[in-house]
């Protein structure tokens, strides 16, 4: 008996400090879930988002605190190197913005505030695990911890049919993707006999298994599984449907954070574990990247829903970012990191404006909801203009530097034709990005473009039933619009808008089934929605895109730190 009491348990060596961000997120998710059970509605609607924000800020701060420490955690299951830390900060940042966009959304009210924000925190945790994974088991675990909460989050807007449908679609397609990934990981384990990235890299570097059927099928299946998650063509078909149906704050989160996590694990798996077989996988991935750029940019052109357009645009952006993986050099990793940060900021600005307009107009995410924004709401018009120009890669924005960096990395390692593909893709993307800018600043021109570009077979609505037409009636009755135009000018504009409405009204469907339901919730006086936090998110992200576009040096330094701490390139 005494011997048993005296014996000490040999515990594994765990670096708790390096696990800090994960612990903070886990504890935060539990606390948020429990706070959601409080009786008082005020506590639920205010305290829960506040706690979620606090958790994300703490996790982000803990990640920043260990910059450059590059710790191996849990028997090398995770590596908190600078890439993982930068991604953690990025995910937490995206999470905070998502909380801000969700504050007045219907989805948390439908699903319960505690559940909604706890799921968001768990998804962020899964992303952190995925971005720092250093072992096949951790890869799969992170992948699923990130995906399963997102399936639920997509379906949280229970009163909307589109939300449920998008949740089920995402679940089925996401699960097929994870099954492919898992089978690939199993085959990779079979081919190399190890689940640890370093051991796999050693086995692959040996060269005996390079031509092995098992190994090559493993690479193909893993690439397929990850391509589903990063919405790389031809595995992107779910993206527009899911993005359109999901609540817009969730769409914003999925678009930016999921993509960043998927690319982080692609770069880790392919540029660390199987980098020895780069000649085998790089041509296949380059082909996928080019197809992705083409499919994304062409698909976005005919879309009248801005969320669908941004979905296709995110497909195209995934194609650009894959270039950073294909070149498999330090420069490539640096370019990818820079581009991911830029991508998060640009898309968050755009989605914040869509969220704001969805609540203000009742037109949903249709491009007509943005019409005339320049005259009415400059605080929303400028952010979306900057976001669109940055996504297209205009100079003086982060998007420009991101693309330059990627092209530089491509040319540097003999993939110059991929650089050319990026340039061609970007010029093609101007068609749809500039259409949004035109809609914002030139109402009369936009309406004719939109009529020409609308897809055939769209369902009709009654002209005059749209809230915009009601506005026109208000304006005519003498009410002064929010923009404060002179009565004569607004009446003139009103008459014009009415005519274009009638033109558009016979073919387009700005109020689909669930959008009609949304509109009933929002009410008729859509011009006076008070949502300073959404406007703040839009303005802050757009300002960051511009500021870091003009002075990109701090972010270049971060990217260089990430690249230098990453992998074992020569």
């Amino acid at each position: 008996m005494n011997a048993i009491l005296a014996a000490t348990v040999k515990t594994p060596d765990i670096d708790w400090g390096a696990l800090g961000p994960l612990i903070a997120l886990t504890v935060g998710a539990c606390v948020v879930l429990m706070t959601g059970l409080l009786r008082s509605p005020a506590a639920r609607t205010n305290l829960v988002p506040a706690l979620a924000t606090l958790t994300l800020i703490v996790a982000g701060a803990l990640a920043i605190g260990q910059w450059d420490s590059n710790a191996d955690v849990l028997e090398e299951a995770l590596r908190m190197d600078n890439l993982a830390l930068a991604m953690t900060v990025l995910f937490c940042f995206a999470g905070v913005l998502t909380v801000a966009l969700s504050l007045r959304d219907l989805a948390p009210r439908d699903a319960g505030h505690g559940e909604y924000y706890a799921l968001l925190l768990v998804a962020v945790m899964g992303m952190v695990v995925l971005a720092s994974a250093q072992n096949l088991v951790t890869v799969f675990l992170g992948f699923e911890v990130l995906s399963i909460p997102l399936y639920v989050l997509c379906a949280t807007h229970l009163s909307s049919e589109g939300s449920l449908e998008s949740g089920l679609k995402y679940l089925i397609i996401g699960s097929v993707g994870s099954a492919c990934l898992l089978y690939g990981l199993a085959l990779l384990y079979g081919a190399t006999g190890a689940t640890d990235f370093d051991a796999i890299a050693q086995a692959v570097g040996g060269g005996e298994i390079r031509g092995d059927v098992l190994f090559l099928s493993a690479l193909a299946l893993i690439l397929t599984g990850l391509a589903f998650k990063a919405s790389v063509a031809p595995f992107h078909q779910w993206t527009p449907d899911v993005y359109e149906g999901a609540p817009t704050p969730v769409t914003a989160f999925m678009a930016v954070a999921t993509k960043a996590a998927a690319l982080a694990i692609i770069v880790r798996l392919f540029d660390v574990a199987v980098v020895g077989a780069v000649d085998d996988w790089a041509p296949a991935m380059a082909a996928l990247a080019v197809i992705t750029m083409l499919v994304g940019n062409v698909g976005a052109i005919g879309q009248s829903s801005v969320k669908r357009m941004l979905a296709y645009s995110s497909v195209a952006q995934a194609g650009y970012m894959l270039v950073g993986v294909i070149v498999s050099t330090r420069l490539g990793v640096q370019a990818l990191t820079f581009y991911l940060v830029a991508y998060v900021l640009m898309n968050m600005a755009a989605f914040a404006v869509i969220v704001a307009r969805e609540r203000e107009t009742g037109l949903g995410d249709d491009i007509s909801a943005l019409r005339g924004l320049g005259a009415e709401r400059p605080t929303l018009a400028w952010p979306i203009t900057i976001a669109m120009l940055a996504l297209a890669g205009f100079p003086a924005t982060m998007g420009f530097w991101g693309k330059i960096y990627l092209i530089d990395a491509a040319v540097d390692n003999g993939w110059a034709w991929l650089g050319v593909a990026i340039v061609l893709g970007s010029s093609l993307s101007l068609v749809y990005y500039l259409r949004v800018v035109a809609a914002v600043w030139m109402p009369s021109l936009e309406s004719s473009v939109a009529v020409a570009a609308r897809p055939a077979g769209a369902r009709p609505i009654m002209a005059g039933a749209s809230p915009e037409a009601d506005d026109v009636a208000d304006t005519r009755a003498g009410a002064v619009p929010a923009g404060g135009d002179t009565p004569t000018a607004s009446t003139a504009r009103g008459t014009h808008e009415e005519r274009t409405d009638a033109d558009i009204g016979d073919g387009r469907d700005p109020s689909g089934r669930d959008r009609a339901a949304d509109r009933d919730h929002v009410g008729r006086d859509h011009r006076h929605v008070h949502q300073p936090e959404v406007v703040l998110v839009a303005v802050a992200c757009a300002a960051a895109v511009l500021l870091l576009g003009v002075f990109p040096d701090p972010l270049f330094d971060v990217a260089r730190d990430v690249g230098e701490a990453f992998g074992n390139f020569d």
């Binding site: 799969f140 399936y151 199993a186």
Partner: protein, 99 residues
């Protein structure tokens, strides 16, 4: 016994699962087929684990089982929510988002 035979069975099960996801229209059956795909991977993992003589594959398989259970729980919850909203429980009929 040679590990190849285990792999043949595992690949067959995976293909059956994939074919089921592609051709069946009831989401419940699709979830079953996804389970088949995951369990095919489990079989491969355990066969490899025996072949290589290390435990990592078995641990992996255990974790996959937990994850598969979570996925099914979420899937069934979604199907119940769709059923309650009186939407068609058929993936070909759920097409409100195509455009």
């Amino acid at each position: 016994m040679d590990v190849t035979w285990y792999l043949v069975v595992s690949a067959a099960v995976f293909s059956i699962g994939m074919a089921g996801v592609l051709i069946r229209r009831n989401p419940l059956v699709i979830l079953l087929c996804i389970e088949l795909m995951l369990n095919a991977a489990n079989l491969a993992l355990i066969a490899f684990s025996r072949a290589h003589g290390n435990q990592e594959g078995q641990i992996f398989a255990l974790i996959v089982m937990v994850v598969a259970a979570c996925e099914v729980a979420v899937g069934l919850g979604l199907i119940v929510a769709i059923f309650r909203r009186k939407l068609p429980v058929d993936v070909d009929e759920l097409r409100g988002l195509q455009g």
